[in-house]
């Protein structure tokens, strides 16, 4: 295992984040604050508690998941698309690095960034609403697992994309809608029975549900089902990445 190479690549990726603090930290903090101002205070004060949790607090896990998913995907997609686009990928391909090591570094860096972002959002939310965390251990597990899984998805998108437009396609057209419709701002119990059933086909519902459970001890769907969905999704992404490196798809021609 070329540990030094993983460390080097990981640090190089992280340095990119730290070089652009506005993009990576300030802007998510501002957008989260806006959500709290609008949904937490302005509208939230007129919404009754959901399952004994005040609305401002209720939306925190959903907001964290919303940022976690979109940022994981865009960090990882950008992280690998950029060197492909600029040509600097030659250096990674010609170094004595295995595919696994490259994935650990790229995906690890992307996931680290979004975990940090999730924590920043959590801390920001403490400024606006009272928060309790019933299962902090599980909160960390779900945040890390989701970040890693969606960073893998982002990595795949970054390799598949052949234009900036495609790079934005999946996050904008698939992930954001699924997250909004996945119960970020409501419990799926509040939906008519038919739409509750439909929602169960949305994988993001499971992610938000288990994260919300780790905060408040109440879930929309069972924790086992949530874990199963995350692990299954992780397995699919790992399979696709393994295939990419075996065939050199869009990495080596």
């Amino acid at each position: 295992m070329n540990i030094e190479a993983i460390r080097t690549l990981y640090r190089f990726e992280m340095a990119r984040t730290l070089r652009t603090p506005t993009q990576s930290i300030v802007s998510p903090v501002i957008s989260t604050s806006l959500y709290f101002v609008v949904f937490g205070s302005a509208i939230g004060s007129r919404i009754q508690e959901i399952g004994g949790v005040n609305y401002g607090s209720f939306i925190v896990p959903g907001l964290i998941m919303l940022s976690l998913l979109t940022q994981s995907i865009s960090n990882a997609a950008f992280g690998i698309y950029m060197p492909r686009f600029s040509g600097t990928i030659y250096e990674v391909l010609s170094a004595p690095i295995s595919s696994l090591e490259a994935v650990i570094a790229y995906v690890g860096a992307a996931a680290s960034k979004s975990v940090m972002l999730g924590l920043v959002i959590l801390v920001t939310s403490l400024l606006f609403v009272p928060m309790t965390i019933v299962h902090p251990f599980w909160m960390v597990v779900f945040i890390v697992l989701s970040a890693f899984t969606f960073s893998l998805l982002g990595f795949i998108i970054g390799i598949w994309a052949e234009s900036w437009e495609r790079l934005e396609l999946v996050p904008q057209l698939v992930v954001t809608p699924l997250t909004f419709l996945g119960g970020s701002f409501y419990s799926i119990d509040m939906l008519p029975p038919f739409w509750q059933k439909v929602s169960l086909f949305n994988p993001v519902v499971y992610l938000i549900s288990c994260l919300r459970w780790s905060f408040f001890g109440k879930a929309d769907v069972s924790i086992a089902a949530s874990l199963a969905v995350i692990v299954a999704f992780l397995a699919v992404c790992l399979g696709v990445v393994a295939w990419i490196f075996r065939t050199g798809y869009r990495l080596k021609n």
């Binding site: 070329n2 190479a5 080097t8 640090r11 030659y90 391909l93 004595p96």
Partner: protein, 308 residues
């Protein structure tokens, strides 16, 4: 001597159906400067890309330092430094961060002394804290060389190192490349500047349409394939080549005021003495004589023409 790089029956066909390499066989000797010469699209960059792990090989096998590039890719790649043709580097990072990163990618622990030496050798030391994007094109190219040298490679690939580089920097690079060779680094450079191969190389390979059509010591190549031309400036113009001189390969030029003698530099040295004897016997007086050897460029163009 065991070749440091050995390429056997290497083929490559791109997904588009384009056959970039058609059974290439090539051995690179340790410590030499090998110039791979060929027109654009001949397969130079594909060949280098495969050896370095950037392009997937088709059929055939390659060993680097005795290590198979697929089965034993770590050992093989550790020996190689690559300077790509295009200016590929992270523009926002500083010069020293870029170079240190390359070293880390090869699994070596940070070594500020080594980085300092590389940067100083390439006259980049005073730019070490500048972001790469603030440097001139020539400086950026040096950064790429520094990156390739950061892990102390035994083999250095330079893909078109001086394409679009001004004359001064080109001379500068040539002397740096020679210094590396003196330190024991094997150097493979691709170029379509024949001048560069002529100036630098110990050995030359010519690639055309995916095939190596020739590999030869440079001096040997120039001797074997080089033609010499001797121009005799005549005191009095001639209308035709006089009959006693018909046995020599002569042509009249410049309105009969010059006789041009073409000879093979390797085998026909004695032809000159015979010619001068015959000239004296025919009473032809000379004002001046000069000789010219064909350049590698002429040899190269001749070889490619022969094959097309």
């Amino acid at each position: 001597m065991v070749p440091i790089i050995s390429i056997k029956n290497l083929t490559k066909t791109y997904a588009s159906g384009f056959q970039a390499l058609k059974g290439v066989n090539l051995d690179i000797r340790q410590g030499e400067i090998f110039a791979l010469l060929g027109p654009n699209g001949a397969g130079k960059t594909t060949l280098i890309g495969i050896v370095c792990g950037i392009v997937r090989p088709g059929e055939g096998s390659i060993t680097v330092g005795g290590h198979d590039i697929i089965r034993d890719y770590r050992a093989a790649r550790s020996l190689i430094g690559l300077v790509p043709q295009e200016l590929f580097t992270s523009y926002f990072e500083t010069v020293s961060a870029n170079v240190a990163m390359s070293r880390g990618l090869f699994g070596l622990a940070p070594d500020p002394a080594r980085i300092e030496k590389v940067l100083k050798d390439l006259s980049l030391w005073d730019k070490k804290d500048s972001p790469v994007m603030t440097l001139s094109g020539g400086m950026k190219r040096r950064v790429l060389i520094a990156k390739a040298l950061a892990h102390e490679p035994k083999i250095l690939f330079l893909d078109e190192p001086t394409a679009g580089v001004d004359v001064e920097l080109r001379r500068d690079m040539w002397s740096q490349v020679r210094r590396l060779r003196d330190e024991g680094v094997t150097i493979i450079l691709t170029t379509h500047y024949i001048e560069e191969a002529e100036e630098m190389a110990d050995r030359i390979g010519i690639i055309s349409k995916g095939e190596i059509i020739l590999t030869e010591d440079k001096a040997e190549l120039m001797r074997k394939l080089g033609r010499k031309e001797m121009t005799l400036h005549l005191k009095d113009a001639l209308a035709t080549v006089p009959a006693p001189l018909a046995g020599h390969r002569l042509a009249l030029a410049n309105g009969g005021r010059e006789l041009v003698f073409t000879y093979d530099s390797a085998t026909e040295r004695d032809g000159i003495a015979a010619l001068f004897g015959d000239l004296a016997a025919a009473g032809i007086l000379l004002k001046d004589v000069h000789t010219r050897q064909s350049s590698l460029e002429e040899i190269f163009v001749g070889l490619l023409k022969e094959r097309s």
